[in-house]
């Protein structure tokens, strides 16, 4: 099988993020970058499929040369090679990224194209759907379970209060939800091998941006909360406040 996994470098989920100069991006100083956590489930799924059926896993990521460190983390998991779409900065508009990715993916003859269900920086959660539409391929998002059987596949995806079972033919686009699998650790051997794997650099043509980030702000700070220290004895007072001050019960 020939599989592509589109990945994004994001700040570690436990890092504090602050608004950077200019007010439309984050302050990059001191940020620890990782592979977007959902993308690790996508990589793992692709690796398991090629281990079973043969074939290759190609990582695809868009960003400046500095993201190659993160791409190598994915190669260390076992992906065979990678393509980096060279831009100074990852676009704010997901449709710009989607169009560039689709243009590259179109030529790759991939049986499956994986994404994480959402990147934990912009939280747009739409890349797989955008690319699937552009490539006119069966697209199944937020997948918890995937079974591939020759030229077709079955996936279970999460919807409110339930699970949908979806059947589709390959080639197809799939986005991974947490729990799709248990992503493997990078072994020392994997890390050493990753250093020698190729990252092809492609200069993408960028479409005009439709979505513009005008401003980033920290969320409004909560006022000092009222904290009571006498356990159950304070229950009556808190219930009174919920009724009379907050007016929520």
């Amino acid at each position: 099988m020939n599989i592509a996994v589109c990945i994004k470098q994001t700040p570690d989920t436990t890092t504090r993020v602050k608004v950077g100069p200019g007010g439309t991006g984050i302050d990059e100083a001191g940020i620890n970058y990782i592979i977007n956590p959902y993308d690790e489930f996508a990589i793992e799924e692709a690796l398991q499929l090629t281990e079973k059926n043969g074939g290759e896993v190609t990582l695809l990521s868009m960003g400046p040369a500095s993201i190659e460190k993160t791409i190598r983390e994915g190669l260390a998991m076992g992906a065979h090679k990678a393509i980096r779409l060279n831009v100074d900065k990852t676009p704010d508009d997901p449709t710009v990224t989607a169009k560039a990715l689709a243009e590259t993916l179109k030529n790759g003859q991939y049986d499956l194209i994986f994404f994480g269900k959402q990147a934990v920086d912009d939280d747009h959660g739409q890349m797989a759907s955008l690319v699937g539409e552009l490539l006119d391929l069966p697209t199944v998002t937020v997948v918890l379970e995937l079974h591939v059987d020759g030229g077709s596949a079955t996936a279970k995806r999460e919807v409110e209060g339930g699970l949908e079972t979806i059947r589709f033919s390959l080639p197809a686009v799939v986005s991974a939800q947490r729990n799709l699998n248990e992503p493997r650790y990078r072994s020392l051997k994997g890390i050493m091998q990753a250093k020698k794997k190729t990252i092809e650099v492609v200069e993408p043509a960028l479409a005009e941006a439709h979505l513009v980030v005008e401003k980033l702000t920290p969320p409004p700070a909560k006022g000092e909360g009222k904290i009571f220290r006498n356990g159950a004895q304070d229950a009556a007072e808190v219930v009174r406040l919920l009724r009379e001050e907050a007016k929520v019960i």
């Binding site: 939280d123 552009l134 998002t141 339930g162 079972t165 229950a235 919920l242």
Partner: protein, 324 residues
């Protein structure tokens, strides 16, 4: 005149509660922009449901009915939304940020060569432009985004906007569209926990963490939830351990909720949990550790043993409800 479209998400022949919030938000935005507002219903057998649009201030209703829409498919619904947006010259398209909309609207956006702001919690007109506010970096920052192309599209987070009852007379127009063949087949939709309230739609959530010690102790939370008419939620380790179903898990990797009241019980308040509930209007924490970070995110807190505090809260609430 150009219009603001409010797309209804109908599941099992019923409105999702966020629909009413979308109708009100669309009517308000259209007012600010001097545009008309149109509710869109897609599917079959929708007659009894379209009346809700008028109840929430929308005078124009478009119904797209087609045998091909009998069964839901993201492909056909996206095409239907895009066709209606084109036919009506929509300036803005809004839909509740349900699992369906999150999947369908990006496809519609691509079909219209425009863009989509997901999970919007506020919006305002700025001349002919709409500025959408949406949480980014798991809610650690708020982004204000605008969309230069037409229509500007957004999914809006459940409970972030108010459903305001403001009845108007509505006219229903049927619109026929040409639909593609779905690229995938939905074989089965297995609904778990039917009858219980989904956490994203609940006004009040009582949420339990590892401090409850085990699934056998959930009774006190369920009693409190019952008194309040609330849904129950949980932290991630709780669903990982299988103490509670996965669909109750709240946080960065679970559901993101914005209820009126969130009661966090025996939850420490890790940053990934806060990411899923910090936009709740009021937050109450019960924790025995005075230093627990959850208190920093709370409006009211009680430091104490939850096994004593929760039954006491339940009794006090029963008392005041009994006097209503």
């Amino acid at each position: 005149m150009s219009t603001v479209l409010a797309v209804a998400d109908i599941r099992n022949g019923e409105h999702r509660s966020v629909n009413f919030e979308v109708f009100s938000a669309a009517a308000k935005l259209a007012g600010e922009m001097g545009l008309s507002v149109t509710a869109v219903f897609i599917g079959n057998g929708l007659e009894s449901l379209t009346g809700a649009a008028g109840e929430y201030g929308i005078a124009n209703v478009v119904v797209v009915e087609d045998p091909a829409l009998d069964k839901f498919s993201a492909d056909t619904f996206a095409a239907a939304i895009a066709e209606v947006a084109k036919a009506k010259g929509a300036a803005v398209v809004l839909m509740g940020a349900t699992a369906t909309a999150r999947d369908v609207l990006p496809r519609a956006a691509m079909r219209l060569d425009t863009a989509l702001a997901q999970d919007t919690i506020a919006m305002r007109a700025d001349g002919a432009k709409v500025v959408f506010t949406r949480p980014m970096y798991a809610g650690k920052l708020l982004g204000e985004v605008s969309i230069k192309s037409m229509p500007a599209m957004a999914t809006i987070r459940s409970k972030a906007f108010k459903a305001e009852h403001s009845p108007v007379g509505a006219t229903v127009e049927k619109v026929a569209v040409s639909l593609p063949t779905p690229r995938v087949k939905i074989e089965e939709l297995a609904l778990e926990n039917t009858g219980t309230l989904d956490v994203t739609e609940a006004d009040i959530i009582v949420s339990g963490g590892r401090g409850l010690k085990g699934p056998e102790n959930w009774g006190i939370l369920e009693d409190l939830a019952k008194t309040l008419g609330a849904a129950t939620g949980c932290s991630r380790p709780v669903s990982d351990e299988g103490w509670r179903p996965h669909d109750e898990h709240i946080g960065q990797t679970g559901k993101v909720v914005s209820p009126t009241l969130y009661i966090a019980v025996g939850i420490s308040g890790a940053i990934q949990h806060i990411a899923g509930m910090s936009s709740s209007k009021f937050i109450v924490a019960v924790n025995k550790d005075e230093e627990a970070p959850i208190f920093k995110a709370s409006d009211y807190g009680i430091v104490g043993d939850l096994f004593e505090v929760i039954p006491a809260l339940n009794e006090e609430i029963k008392k005041i409800k009994g006097n209503d």
